[in-house]
């Protein structure tokens, strides 16, 4: 007997494990008949999941947490039994901003502290000249993109709420907005950074793995009540995703995976551009400069698929740091409970791994301790939170 499921996704490369699970038959092998529904906005994905039009969804990890906390919207507790990706975003800047930053750079241009300090100089110079503040695009108030941009610029002394403008743009509008000068830079997932570089209108300044070595990006989200009612289906879905992730990570399969993802009804862009993200070898400048990182996007390697509650606590700490919520012990607990490593382990029929997951590896600030979020936040000079 097969179980029909409707799952929503946004056309981004980090929906890979979900798409491959369906299109390569891993889901069917687990007895799931999945209909993938392509969506246009994170609000839509969240709403359709929340009211039960979707059984599961490709969701920004912070949205799953915000929904469970009732931030910015109604409170619908979410369970994330699988992590769809670690990292995967990049910061792209316009040629003009790139030139201005390179002018001020003092040190290694791939060191985010160096670029953040250069940004602070550009911001100060513009203010003195009476120019408009720089505008940065990101995808949603509750998004890793928002927090990664803020983390980076704040380390250089730039206040993201005072010194620059941060605006939300749907991912497919990023490139046009950079071209038209509506934004000077953006932080977004693949393939949009590569598309801006290919069009000659953007330079990839940083892979987000420069800022945080390991950060949870998207999750496979289900409603908590649904997870409780359908444990076998959740387990089957996790197993299908784990198999798909392993398939994608096999270097020999990358071409095929990219081809599956490139289909018009899936992500709908060139397979070659998608493959760059999967292999972590990206063209970063219109002149053809390439940069390679094995950490660009982790789909299944290094236990990437296993949800890590400490990652949820870090995302919650960012919400607190930027004034989206007040710090509370219940808040931390609720956030951590969204990332269901227990469901993941149960689906695979195994014990939790003995080795703890690799640390965040943030380029600035102290190591993150979920038991002392207050102490952690106090170490940062720029922030919107009230103790």
């Amino acid at each position: 007997m097969t179980t029909p499921l409707r799952i929503g996704f946004i056309p981004l490369v980090d929906s890979a494990a979900l798409i491959v699970a369906v299109d390569k038959g891993f889901a069917a092998a687990e007895g799931l008949d999945v209909e993938l529904v392509r969506e246009v906005s994170w609000s839509n994905v969240r709403d359709k999941l929340n009211i039960g039009l979707f059984d599961a969804a490709h969701l920004l990890a912070p949205v799953a947490i915000a929904s469970s906390l009732g931030l910015g919207h109604v409170k619908v507790p979410i369970a994330a039994p699988f992590n769809l990706g670690i990292n995967g975003n990049a910061i792209t800047v316009s040629p003009a901003l790139h030139a201005a930053l390179m002018e001020e750079i003092d040190g290694d241009r791939f060191d985010p502290m160096v670029t953040a300090k250069a940004l602070a100089k550009v911001v100060a110079f513009r203010r003195k000249a009476g120019a408009e503040p720089l505008t940065f695009g990101m995808t949603f108030p509750f998004s890793t993109h928002n927090y990664q941009l803020r983390f980076w610029m704040a380390a250089g002394g730039v206040d993201p709420d005072e010194d620059v403008r941060l605006v939300v743009l749907p991912p497919p509008y990023m490139v046009d907005s950079l071209k038209s000068g509506h934004v000077d830079a953006f932080c977004v997932g693949a393939p949009w950074n590569s598309i801006a570089v290919d069009l000659g209108i953007g330079h990839i300044l940083h892979f987000v793995s420069d800022i945080l070595v390991r950060a949870a990006e998207k999750v496979l989200a289900v409603r908590q009540v649904w997870a409780e009612k359908n444990p076998d289906t959740v387990a089957a879905l996790v197993r299908a995703a784990v198999k798909a992730a392993a398939f994608i990570e096999e270097p020999d399969n990358r071409t095929e995976a990219a081809r599956i993802l490139a289909q018009p009804e899936r992500i709908g862009v060139d397979a070659e551009v998608i493959q760059r993200t999967l292999t972590g070898r990206l063209k970063i400048s219109p002149d053809g400069t390439f940069r390679e990182s094995s950490r660009y996007l982790l789909v299944g390697r290094e236990e990437a698929g296993r949800p890590d509650p400490v990652q949820a606590a870090w995302l919650y700490a960012q919400m607190v740091r930027w004034g989206q919520t007040a710090l509370s012990p219940e808040g931390v607990k609720t956030a951590m409970a969204v990332f269901r490593s227990d469901l993941y382990d149960a689906a695979l029929g195994r014990r939790p791994p003995e080795q703890p997951p690799a640390p965040f590896g943030a380029f600035a600030g102290p190591a993150f301790d979920p038991d002392d979020i207050r102490g952690h936040l106090e170490a940062f000079e720029v922030g919107r939170w009230k103790a």
């Binding site: 609000s43 839509n44 995808t139 749907p170």
Partner: protein, 196 residues
């Protein structure tokens, strides 16, 4: 209902026809203060100027995320709560999402005033979807007819057939191949262009 009591409603929709249908319906129902915004560029400024109690937006509009960010960041707009006014009324929420309409409602507006607006939106959105479907069908029929005319012309010229004979040939081929006449006609045009 007099003008003072009627809540201010903003419709954010890039389709002018659907917005007009909605606007008309709301007016007929006695909601006199309805403003349509189609420009996404100045969305916040316009919303701020109108200061609505209800914002209706097409669900498939990617700017929904932009709108939500405004509510998050901007203190200019009163903090609206997205459509789940009454979480217990899941049937009307579901109907609304299925029809493709999303409503943002400023907290504090009475529930009994929202319900008729949402119901009206859902029925109008559904009516529009039906209209659109019919329009698409008519368009494709029209397109088919043009293609068939051209294919008939080609057959008449190449095979020396009368118009009726050309049509009969097209139709019988379509039946044999289990395809639409339009498809057969299109392949004749494509083939003749390649053979030119």
């Amino acid at each position: 209902m007099n003008a003072d009591q009627s809540p201010k409603i903003v419709i954010v929709d890039e389709s002018p026809i659907r917005a007009a249908i909605l606007q008309e319906g709301l007016r007929e129902a006695g909601f006199t203060q309805v403003v349509h915004i189609s420009e996404m560029q100045s969305l916040l400024a316009r919303i701020y100027a109108v200061d609505p109690e209800i914002i209706l937006i097409d669900l498939e509009n990617p700017s929904r995320d932009v709108l939500e960010a405004m509510f998050q960041v901007s203190r200019a707009v009163k903090r609206p709560i997205a459509m789940f006014v009454d979480q217990s009324d899941s049937a009307s929420i579901q109907a609304s999402v299925e029809a493709g309409v999303s409503a943002y409602i400023v907290d504090g507006l009475k529930k009994e005033r929202i319900k008729p607006i949402l119901d009206l939106c859902v029925s109008r959105f559904n009516a529009f979807a039906k209209l659109q479907e019919e329009l698409d069908r008519t368009k494709s029929q029209l397109e088919d007819r043009k293609v068939i005319e051209r294919a008939k012309g080609i057959l008449m010229k190449v095979k020396g057939l009368t118009e009726d004979e050309a049509y009969v040939l097209l139709r019988s081929t379509a039946m044999r191949e289990k395809k639409k006449i339009g498809e057969i006609a299109q392949s004749i045009i494509t083939a003749s262009e390649m053979l030119k």
